[in-house]
Symmetry: C2
């Protein structure tokens, strides 16, 4: 009997781990629905016996752990790891200096740098847990639908572990991201359609082929894997958590995961309150902002330079909205030109190449400070979720081809 259960975030029904996992069920068997152009319904979440965990894992002991290795506290993850050797787990380790402190306009600012993860994005947190789960289940093929990063992440993590991956992508996938997926040796299926078509096709085929499915939000372990950042932040800050955490939102799985991790720490008595979760979207893809304002979901095709947070129907919308509300946070959207300026600011001031989606949080930070909605003297942590090298075309927009000059011309110009 496993030490955790599954619970529907919608109808609240509980299921044993065996009921869900043995049948390869992902959404709630009672009310789950994965339909086109709407958020998922019946997303499952995993519940542990926090009292029991708290009795055996003390806060102060936990704070001594190395960050970036969730397998060091396996009691908080739905996977059995005792057959996996350490040298294999180490291939999934994140850097141990992700938490960086800088100054900006005379205030401290903190960054959580996910750009140097094994495949250079936050997605690795989910892919790693899911790949280990597949190994536990004895499944050696994993499938995912992706607009780019999730597929590249799953493909790379699977290559590290010797697992076969199948990635379903829409026709408009950027070349750079397609090449990353292919490079890792994944089978790639380009669907003549959009992300929704790829998502549906992936579900149908995974089901028939008995491939383990990593579709984001659909597989509850995507949220579970992404919660590890909350624990890492807890370790990095030695328990002195940030006041505000800025998080880019596409499908709402990162925010869902971090919120899950934080609420677990509340239950464990390790923190006293939730940091405010500030969710950031692009104006052209602001479903969460509109949902919170209007209290209902309306579909609008997304269009933004920040392709990794472009989502007309965020799959994990309802949990994302709950996270904002329960933490006393905010949901805001920023313009594409603000995102590109922020991408430049982050590279120039902090020496980090970020994806446009990640840069959105710095644009939001600047806006909110300017509007006095956030205190710059607070402990503000910005989540930088993806690497700018993954698609250099955005960087190219603000770096014009410079002039070429001869040796003598430069001598005159610089020395004069």
């Amino acid at each position: 009997m496993k030490n955790y259960t599954y619970k529907c975030t919608n109808c609240k029904t509980e299921f044993t781990a065996e009921q869900i996992e043995n049948e390869f069920i992902y959404l709630c068997p009672k009310c789950g629905k994965a339909e086109k152009n709407v958020p998922l319904e019946g997303v499952l979440t995993i519940e542990y016996d926090y009292e029991d965990i708290g009795n055996n894992l003390q806060r102060e002991e936990f704070l001594k752990l190395q960050p970036g290795k969730f397998w060091l506290y396996p009691q908080l993850f739905p996977v059995t790891l005792n057959k996996v050797e350490e040298n294999i787990l180490n291939r999934l380790a994140l850097p141990t200096d992700q938490y960086l402190e800088y100054e900006f306009n005379n205030n401290k600012i903190f960054l959580m740098d996910e750009t140097r993860n094994p495949t250079f994005s936050y997605k690795d947190r989910a892919s790693s847990l899911i790949a280990l789960k597949a190994m536990e289940l004895g499944v050696d093929e994993i499938a995912a639908a992706s607009t780019g990063n999730a597929g590249s992440s799953l493909a790379g993590i699977c290559a590290r572990l010797g697992i076969k991956s199948h990635i379903f992508v829409p026709k408009n996938i950027p070349d750079a991201k397609r090449i990353q997926i292919q490079s890792f040796g994944a089978n790639i299926y380009i669907v003549d359609g959009d992300y929704d078509n790829a998502f549906d096709l992936c579900l149908e085929i995974s089901n028939q082929k008995k491939w383990y499915n990593r579709n984001t939000a659909y597989n509850p372990l995507t949220i579970e894997g992404k919660k590890s950042a909350a624990y890492d932040i807890f370790i990095y800050t030695k328990g002195n958590m940030p006041d505000n955490i800025f998080i880019p939102v596409g499908d709402g799985v990162i925010i869902g995961g971090i919120y899950k991790g934080l609420t677990e720490m509340l239950k464990l008595g390790w923190i006293e309150k939730l940091p405010k979760l500030i969710t950031v979207q692009a104006k052209g893809s602001d479903a969460l902002v509109r949902y919170i304002e209007q209290n209902s979901f309306t579909y609008k095709p997304a269009e933004t330079v920040a392709d990794s947070i472009s989502a007309g129907a965020p799959r994990n919308l309802y949990m994302a909205a709950e996270a904002v509300k329960e933490s006393g946070g905010l949901a805001i959207a920023v313009l594409d030109e603000e995102i590109l300026t922020a991408q430049k600011d982050i590279a120039n001031n902090f020496g980090i190449l970020s994806e446009p989606s990640s840069a959105s949080v710095f644009a939001a930070y600047k806006n909110l400070v300017e509007q006095n909605k956030i205190n710059a003297a607070d402990k503000n942590l910005l989540l930088i979720t993806g690497n700018g090298l993954k698609d250099i075309s955005a960087l190219e927009r603000w770096n014009k081809q410079p002039v070429v000059k001869s040796y003598d011309e430069w001598m005159i110009e610089i020395i004069k």
Copy 2:
């Protein structure tokens, strides 16, 4: 009085640290020469009082240090760090899981993964030390000539520390690498000429403007910074060093640095013998291989897909040759098509996107095992020095645009 001196690798004259550093001297004042299309002469190397260091720093204590942070053992580096705060140093930290163990053809194989360094290449080891040295010297502008990675590295490290960087590049710099340099806010100077012209211009202007100079091999701290990988390997292996270390060679500064670190560990009595250093070049850029065979240097313009190791006149040729000889190693060259195949092998088997220059070592490993010149059962460590995302055009060569099919077509094809 500093605890180290400078010594010429050619005429063996010794100088105090003050003699060299106060005057911004880089090559030997007696015999140093930086001329076009030939290796540098009079490269300086830094000598410490190893007996004194060994008395105060025990092998077993050293092995407990965290890897990737050379500032934890400052007595082995020519820089004063006591005014630099820890949160600033942490911005320069390398990941702590660079040393990865895999299986290949039923043998263990070890990789040293430098692709997730702050700017995604080994060059950061040199740039970080040099940037900290500039801070110590009170210089807030640093210049370098570069074909791409070194410039991007210096620019990124300087952005992390708030230092101004000036990067001189040849006209044929790949767009992707130019964009990285610019993104970090460096001043970029594109010279209508080749790398040698950029090198000369950078020396002349740094001299006149009193900018600190990071030209590779020319500034002895580039070699010194790059020695830290040897110490990291020592920590990762708990002192059980590899039998063979495979190292890609362009200008010969990485091999020079690693050799320096290893010989220091010999002097400290921490290791008993040098691992064999296997240097790898591309056939189209094989100056070191030819130098070792013929015992004399001849210039030949370099041409290879592995742009980061393309060097007609390796600046640090003589030290590289000494490293091969003294360690009982080998110098070999591989074909461009072998390099591209190896790049694919590394991504597919190990989940790591490497630059062609880095992939060359895996091509060499396979060749040498096949020829029985290397025992696959030995402890073989391959240095993966740069990230494949830095210039995706090489990956593109072996990843063709795949077919696009409709939902129904894929269903039929996959399920049938």
